[in-house]
């Protein structure tokens, strides 16, 4: 009870501070030196109130205070403590409070870390950030208050959706939000810098760290979500081109492009329009992501039950933000034509520009595939969905030049360059092609496209690997990230080519056999836990080499709410994952068994970790 009360009033106080910050800033804008200290303490106070509010919500979850509607809807006394806590952000209200927390945290950190920036710039950044913050305060208090009362107090809660009771998904939202919401500070800062016309190499250097933080968290957040989907949803895939996944990929694509542009801006003071537009795009895409996931507009296999009225609020808010940023862009931004800057067609600038256009193309494909069904539904009420073939067809062919550009681009010099080490470049290309022929000679399907794809990925792989060891280019973060990307594409390709799947229905004691694999369903036993009962099925799987594996997938029936989930059993090795998942069809003796051998699965995760590791190195690197 007390927690809800304190939490709610903290929110109101935070909102009041947000509004008073506007007045303070406008009143004293020209007298800004006095303001400097005051702003910092006000921002700290706001952060403090949001933190209090957030801890109140966590506490309500820990003590299972069911007079709080959010807790009642999403928790249960029998839940393990860890999931009581993670349940805080496993629901709409709590996750928005987390949004708010990250928003206020980032502006506070930003003010602390930007002591040397012009005062006016700091104030304007704060004002733009406060627009977002106040918007979210209103949204939270108006439409999704996490501290609503229920009277009389229920004795027991409804429980958390069991598929969310999982370690990866417990930390997935906070990490993803750090990335999503981290882009808000880039957005505010870009708007401030544009209005003051101070976009320069210095500014680029200062904002680069913020872009990197956001990018690292976004990358890791997407990775966690993907790993979770792999083992929890029981489909054995890692990416489904599902709308909910796409909305996290889109800001990532924009942010990655922005990261490359800022590197140019930092050195050469060009591509300013790109930087501004991409910063705005990244944040708007993050917000639209929240809007699309939370509004229920998206027709997704991941969709959780939700409320369309909330969507309208975010939509209007989003519209205001976009309008504001477009106005600022057109009224304040003028490309500096005086010191016109030209570069040769073969140069680092050109290669980054080409990279930008490729990324924009990928982004538009994903955007169209995600939004088109909504659009069509609105204008003609026809229900459609866009499946993986659409994305594969449009993205995969373009990966080939993209990968080769990634190998050669970083070797080019600024302004005007020549291709050096021609011999190496060509010999590596030949080696890559030969190698992919060797790998693929036993396959008859799509041999041409696969060979070219694998060749280009191998090419990037070898070039980056060699650069890593000769250390001639001295840009280790870029090197590692690009190497990670080549590894990612390679593992995805191999994963596609070499994976196999068996789906069958078996009773206990039965077995399945084909030319390569024998699956024996040996027995079942039962397990009783505090919050679920489980049926554990014991399988022994023998492959054509005679290797035998014991695999024991589970079928859990949670008590609150009563939902069955399948827990896959996965044997991971460096070469392949053996993945088995079962399901019981209601009132039948048969178990639905799905056995998959997924090649190089672990390398997909590792390569994404490697990519973000490149970002971390760049983040930690001192300015040389």
């Amino acid at each position: 009870m007390i927690f809800s009360l304190v939490g709610y009033y903290s929110l109101i106080l935070g909102l009041i501070i947000g509004i008073s910050l506007f007045f303070l800033s406008f009143k004293n804008f020209n007298n800004s030196n006095i303001l400097d200290k005051k702003l910092l303490s006000f921002t700290f106070l706001q952060l403090f109130f949001v933190v209090i509010s957030f801890f109140c919500l966590i506490s309500s979850f820990i003590v299972s205070d069911f007079s709080n509607e959010t807790v009642f809807n999403n928790s249960h006394t029998t839940k393990p403590l860890f999931y009581k806590i993670s349940g805080t952000w496993g629901n709409h209200e709590g996750s928005l409070l987390l949004w708010l927390l990250v928003l206020t945290l980032f502006i506070f950190l930003f003010l602390i870390r930007s002591k040397n920036q012009p005062v006016k710039y700091k104030i304007l950044t704060l004002v733009f950030q406060q627009i977002i913050i106040v918007g979210f305060f209103l949204f939270l208090i108006q439409t999704s208050n996490p501290f609503n009362y229920i009277f009389p107090t229920p004795l027991e809660g409804l429980g958390l959706n069991p598929i969310l009771q999982d370690p990866a998904l417990a930390i997935h939202p906070p990490i993803l939000y750090l990335g999503y919401v981290g882009s808000s500070i880039i957005f505010s800062s870009v708007l401030a810098a544009t209005s003051l016309k101070i976009i320069s190499t210095n500014w680029a250097l200062h904002i680069k760290k913020w872009i990197l933080i956001s990018w690292i968290f976004l990358t890791l957040g997407i990775l966690l979500g993907s790993i979770w989907a792999y083992y929890e949803l029981g489909w054995g895939g890692f990416w489904f081109w599902d709308p909910v996944e796409n909305v996290s990929l889109m800001p990532w694509l924009a942010l990655t492009t922005l990261l490359h542009c800022i590197l140019v801006l930092e050195k050469k003071a060009i591509l300013t329009s790109w930087v501004i537009i991409l910063s705005i795009a990244t944040f708007t895409l993050s917000m639209s992501g929240t809007f699309l996931v939370r509004s229920g507009i998206l027709n997704s296999v991941h969709t959780f039950a939700n409320d369309p009225e909330r969507g309208l609020f975010i939509l209007i808010f989003l519209f205001i933000l976009i309008l504001l940023s477009i106005l600022i862009f057109f009224f304040f931004h003028k490309e500096d034509n005086k010191k016109s800057y030209s570069f040769f067609w073969l140069s680092k600038e050109t290669s980054i520009l080409i990279n930008n256009w490729f990324m924009m193309y990928f982004l538009s494909v994903v955007l169209i595939g995600t939004v088109y069904p909504i659009f069509l539904d609105v204008i003609s009420s026809q229900k459609i969905s866009v499946g993986p073939p659409f994305y594969h067809k449009l993205i995969i062919p373009f990966l080939i030049p993209f990968l080769i550009m990634m190998a050669i681009g970083p070797k080019l010099k600024w302004i005007k360059s020549q291709i050096i080490d021609k011999l190496y470049l060509i010999s590596f290309l030949i080696i890559s092609i030969l190698l992919s022929f060797l790998i693929l000679k036993n396959f008859s399907q799509n041999i041409l496209i696969n060979t070219i794809l694998i060749s280009s990925a191998l090419y990037l792989f070898f070039i980056t690997l060699r650069d890593f060891f000769i250390k001639k280019y001295n840009n280790i973060s870029q090197n590692i990230a690009h190497f990670g990307f080549s590894l990612l594409i390679l593992s995805i390709l191999f994963n596609n080519l070499f994976s196999s799947e068996i789906i069958t229905n078996l009773k206990v004691g039965e077995s399945f056999e084909n030319s390569k694999t024998k699956i024996v369903f040996e027995s079942i036993n039962q397990k009783k836990e505090k919050n679920y009962n489980a049926i554990i099925a014991n399988f022994s799987v023998q492959n054509y080499l005679g290797e035998k594996d014991k695999l024991s997938p589970e079928l859990r029936i949670y008590n609150q709410p009563v939902i069955a989930t399948s827990e896959a059993d996965i044997k991971t090795t460096l070469i392949s994952d053996k993945f088995i998942v079962i399901n019981l069809v209601q009132n039948q003796d048969y178990f639905n068994v799905r056995y998959q051998v997924k090649s190089f699965m672990v390398w997909i995760w590792l390569s994404v970790v490697l990519i973000s590791f490149g970002g971390i190195i760049s983040f930690l690197k001192k300015r040389s």
Binding site: N161, I163, L233, G234, W235, G296, N299, V301, H302, T303, F304, A305, Y361, S364, V365, I368, G369, Y372, P373, Q382, K383, I384, S385, V386, G387, P389, F390, K393, L394, I503, T504, N505, L506, E510, F512, P561, V562, I563, A564, T565, S566, V581, N583, V585, Q586, N587, Q588, Y590, N592, R594
Partner: protein
Amino acid sequence: MYGRKVKLRFLFIIIILITLILTTFMILKSLEENVVYFQSPTEIKSLSEIDNSKIRVGGMVKKNSISINSNEVNFIITDFKNEINVIYKGAVPNLFAEGKGVVAEGFLKDRNFFSATKILAKHDENYMPREVKEALEDK
């Protein structure tokens, strides 16, 4: 007549325009080929012809209609007005049960038989796919 720079710039703009047009065309073309339409059993009954494109069928799994053997699962999808038999080989999601909403993806054999290649999972027992809800409300 014109300087070299102007000519180059002109060429550049033309190339960009052509690329843009081609890309748009390509995206639209591939959208057209790859979208999956959603249909209710009633809509299927009134189809004038059966083509072999992939579609989604949604509705409720009819009570006592699931039967299973070692390599396939059969059931009936109903929108309480019309129904359609589904033959499915593959993995079933956890929340697949009689009397619950379902969306199946696959190909029509005729107006009464549907061969499914995928049954879509849901995350939440309270959640009903929007199309299914609308299809059921349309009756």
